[in-house]
Symmetry: C2
Subunit: 554 residues, 2 copies
């Protein structure tokens, strides 16, 4: 009996052409596996939006054939959408211990059932329908990160997860090259690889080099040392603690997310701290300044974070003391550069010494640079290649890298969110699109803020609003009260009385004209008010506030 | 007759602790000289603001003793406030030919009298009251830039302007080291030096290296070449044109500000273009793609610029053709990183090859790095030192640099906008403050948008507005019509009817309560509505829209 050749479909729902909201569908006939479910932080023009998650309409339409969600690691851009996804989909979620530990906390915060979380270890292989999923240890800027091997009837996929090649990892656990090599030898159909640092030549330095840099700083610091880093970077925190121990300093942890991650990590064994080293923030004044280290949030200049508050003398418990040494152990994520600069300036103004330059070695990336990407490619030597986890230029660069290594251009696929890539053993093609995009989350609202609301917020943010209220007498067909004009965000009214008085006159004139011409339809009256007032205000101020006529009827 | 020792006062009104709105007052007794009058681009939280200029209250209070404004060069952050300043102050303005040429255009745009502009040449010395001002050629990213020597009865000040040390300048005109050295030998009281690149070790590469980089790109480019750069960077444009000529390509200029500057530069002789090389943008299709170069605005991803429009297929005259080579000959100004990335991605999506990495050598800074700053300091070897033109960390770094060269810490002054530094021949002290700060310009309004308006715009931008209108019957003392609720920027109303209905009920209840308790004062009624509705909406949505109750009376 001739069998219809099975097709493997790869459908990204997020993470391509953007950094954030990673989520990929792997489908063979009637079985779906989902890799990751992340969130993305809003762009500057997404006013008032808290976060962005992938549109999962496709998954909801196919809910019955989803076998599981498998997670590569515990960063927000890989797990952050799950509290929302799991409210709508009841599927098992597989991840490593730390990944699920962090996820559990998020689910609890949002009152979502955490019972479908199934822990796996690097090296495990799980059968999920026609998929045989292997979890392969990789080094990243959070412990317990894995890449995936997904064996399907059509062929084997390797997904690197977020990775780097670190030959001296802080916890002694290296990227499992041998497993990747073994898979490559057996034959891999498709490699999906992390493009974040594809623009960077060379090799990302080992996490251990930061420990060396810390040592140099600690050696010279006379007073307190404050280290700001990403709360998820447990190896960085480990090195901070190790160096503190070397220099016989106590360590206090500051910032809610930092405290959370440190606690989970201690509980699950990802952080090792000798007895008596960790102290509460309230105890720091019990020790000489030369014996204190504070590990804190705020490395991105986040307005409500501990370090930012300290820099503005706005933290309830800790301030900056002249002579403090502050290490910004991170680089600004694109978009955060001004926030970070501002924090650095504020810390300097308070008399702190601030160490933030890349050249000081106090931060390294968690993503592979070009030489490591070439190594991964060569270990796997796949049939087909798909760069993932990057903005367009990262994907392009990664594709070019791999092309230079000999992969034919037609076997390289630069895909897009929602695009279906279909593979057989021999061929890969673009095979259509599914619904994909952004779901905006504002407060408790999921997806209720769309383009219209955002457009209105933009206009309001630029030039404010003028509200014109008129009460019309229905029977008499004329104005009973008003027009009254109220403005917000437009001008400082006390200084602009003449302008507002004149504006009122323009509205009166427009209303009179409507009466003269027997215009009674509200929509038309409002349009006339809007036109007359808009023209006048633009002429006088070159601004275009929102103009909102409201008609009350008595 | 014992004479009271004269005091030299240096009072920055802008440019310290920020990059932008440079303006410095030099005062000896009853004579004032002003150095530069620049604008600053608004921060992200200055919603709807077009630009920021210095608060010149101090100058208006002392208008009768201002001798002149002297300009260092034609960048916006040194001349951009003049259209506003000259509307309020009638003082002569001295500057080099190109500086005044650019300024004239700005003044014309704003209908400001340009008759008080007096051109000077590098090397000139002008006597202005007790000040003897020398204009000293420096290299910068715009031609005709100068530093200043200001001889006063107290001593000589040297102000570097914005500068670098370029030993192979494109126009053959070098920073006048010899003049700086001569001044240093005669004795300089105070050096005020450009701190922009004080964090960068080494030496800023010569502008000429960009020409070399251009050559490499032109050598490999098969089709059209598009070069985006700052419109004021005439030397960069010159090299683009020179390289185009070498490769027998025609050059079209795109973008209003680019066309303006090119025209002024051609007119005044700062740009040399052989006959027939420059073509109109409408003519480019008359030539094979391999013979076309387009020099354009948009290197900062500015939304309305030519290159950004082209990247979005939104330009009336030019689109991107697959195979185009685009050179982004600039680095993102802090804050613009995401805009630039977006443009690069869009260009790539359209099939262009984009060259943007710093390592490709297609851009160099116009500001001195550490070795050049040390050289300037050593040439001048002043009594006192004041780092200028930088954010706080730049000023700190520059101060540290100079301290390491031997200047005693107490002779180094890190000042602030509005702070008075007072010098005698032997001593420098902080001597109080004057009014200084930001004046925000929005459309035609100068300073009429202040903190309250901005605060309102911020709230509107995050969560929108709800307007509740009630018509009250004055005589009956009860509600005659309403409450009606209108919202903008809050939720998509069509999907949130239940929420809005419930909100209306909350308002009705609040109004009834007021009636029951005989509350007739509008302020109290409004406060009750605001509280009840605010609480309800936050509970349901975790959002805090502006709530604006309006009461009409009949």
């Amino acid at each position: 009996m001739a069998k219809v050749p099975q097709k493997l479909q790869i459908i990204p729902l997020g993470g391509l052409g953007e950094i954030g909201k990673n989520m990929t569908v792997v489908r063979v006939d009637d079985e779906i596996l989902v890799i990751d479910a992340g969130l993305m932080f809003p762009d500057d023009d997404m006013l008032g939006i808290d976060l962005v998650i992938p549109d999962i309409s496709y998954l909801l339409e196919n809910r019955d054939i989803i076998k599981a969600i498998v997670l590569t690691h515990g960063h927000e851009d890989h797990i952050g959408a799950l509290p929302y996804v799991l409210k709508q989909l009841n599927v098992p979620v597989y991840g490593t211990k730390l990944t699920l530990g962090i996820l559990e906390g998020r689910l609890k915060e949002k009152n979502v059932d955490a019972s479908g979380l199934i822990p796996v270890k690097p090296g495990d292989i799980i059968n999920l329908g026609c998929f045989s999923v292997g979890f392969i240890r990789v080094s990243h800027s959070i412990p317990d990160a894995v890449g995936l091997s997904i064996k399907t009837p059509v062929g084997t996929i390797v997904h690197t997860g977020d990775f780097k090649m670190d030959y001296t990892p802080v916890d002694g656990k290296m990227t499992d090259f041998r497993r990747f090599s073994e898979l490559g030898n057996r034959g891999v159909l498709l490699l999906m690889s992390d493009s974040t640092n594809a623009e960077r030549p060379g090799h990302t330095p080992s996490e251990r080099t930061v420990g060396v840099a810390f040592d140099k700083v600690f050696h010279n610091a006379k007073n307190r040392i404050i280290i700001a880093t990403f709360s998820s970077n447990v190896h960085r925190i480990q090195q901070a603690i190790d160096t503190a121990c070397q220099y016989k300093r106590k360590v206090a942890v500051l910032g809610r997310s930092m405290i959370n991650v440190v606690n989970i990590s201690l509980e699950l064994g990802y952080l090792t701290v000798p007895e008596g080293v960790l102290i509460d923030i309230d105890e720091i004044n019990n020790y000489p300044m030369s014996q204190v280290v504070i590990v804190t949030t705020g490395s991105q200049g986040e307005p409500l974070s501990a370090l930012t508050r300290m820099s503005m003398s706005d933290h309830r418990k800790v301030g900056i003391v002249p002579g403090d040494t502050v290490i910004i152990s991170a680089t600004p994520i694109p978009g955060n550069e001004k926030l970070v600069s501002r924090t650095i300036d504020n810390l300097l103004k308070q008399g702190a010494e601030v160490i933030y330059e890349k050249s000081k070695g106090i931060h390294v990336s968690g993503h592979a640079s070009q030489e490591e990407l070439k190594l991964m490619y060569n270990l796997i030597h796949p049939r087909f290649f798909m760069p993932v986890h990057g903005e367009y230029r990262h994907l392009i660069k990664h594709a070019k890298l791999v092309q230079d290594l000999g992969m034919p251009k037609h076997n390289i696929f630069i895909s897009d969110n929602g695009q279906i890539l279909e593979f057989t053993r021999d061929k890969g093609t673009v095979a259509g699109k599914v619904t994909a995009g952004n779901v905006l989350i504002d407060g408790l609202g999921v997806g209720d803020v769309g383009n219209i609301v955002l457009r209105d917020r933009r206009q309001l943010s630029q030039d404010g609003i003028l509200i014109i209220v008129v009460t019309m007498d229905k029977d008499q067909g004329c104005v009973a009260a008003g027009p009254d004009i109220v403005s917000r965000g437009f001008v400082y009214v006390r200084e602009s009385e003449a302008l507002m008085d004149e504006a009122k006159e323009k509205v009166k004139t427009a209303l009179e004209k409507c009466e003269e011409n027997n215009i009674t339809e509200w929509a038309t009256i409002k349009a006339n008010i809007r036109d007359a007032l808009g023209r006048y205000l633009y002429e006088k101020t070159r601004r275009r506030p929102m103009i909102l006529p409201i008609i009350m009827e008595i």
